[in-house]
Subunit: 160 residues, 2 copies
Amino acid sequence: MNPKLDLVLERTIDVKPELVWRAWTTPDYVKKWFTPAPWKTVECEIDLRPGGRFFTVMESPEGQKFPNTGCFLEVATNRKLVWTDALEPGYRPSARKLGADVPFFLTAIVTIEPHGMVGTKYTATAIHATEEGRVKHEEMGFHHGWGAALDQLVALAKTM
Amino acid sequence: MNPKLDLVLERTIDVKPELVWRAWTTPDYVKKWFTPAPWKTVECEIDLRPGGRFFTVMESPEGQKFPNTGCFLEVATNRKLVWTDALEPGYRPSARKLGADVPFFLTAIVTIEPHGMVGTKYTATAIHATEEGRVKHEEMGFHHGWGAALDQLVALAKTM
């Protein structure tokens, strides 16, 4: 973890690692928690293997849609999930260019560790190329946004 | 394989898969074959695991040095090696910007399959983000360069 380049959400939650994993890797669940309300995730496709596709479409409250295509890098069931939007599926370098629509590229490392009898130590690290990218992501509300999404994940997991 | 975006070197060679793997994954061997003469690979560091560092320094005949930092993505001993320079070690998106010094990003997929008793079917695929990148790489001499490097790898493997 490099504090100049990375952002981290670390929290202990009272749901089991297996449920966190299912929430992260099941498209119908991802649609329910991935984007803090009133934003929505209206589409999700997951090909759960290294090199596989991680596709989502987020929708703003005004109805504008934002598709995101990423690539899974590590898939360790119930323990660790890594994906990036700097690569497209099959590990192809992304053709998107940094700019207004793409303020930064991102790799996300999600680790899920058992905590106590029924809990999870959840750590989500967002890794950026540059300090500029990290700052932009922070200013866009990383901590609030990823935290609120995790609240939604926990609430969802308790219904599974 | 997408012919608009990808370049492929496929060849049957008369050295065993295990030797091809050793040539690709041992820094002192990489320095001996990776760059077609009269270019040289003067430094090489390998951290052979997904997310690990693949670092080389190439040197032109005039003595100019070109460092390259990449990240391993898949490491399947004696079978498949995948790395990219679109990510830095630890899967961090690369901070390099496309331009004169970085004409394209690249993911390389090397597959090594047994062929007959002592041979290997060797396939190296260079995957690019855009057709423009593929064309630049082709014009820079992909086919001759990767082919000449493979000749050097085969000659080296026969001395192992």
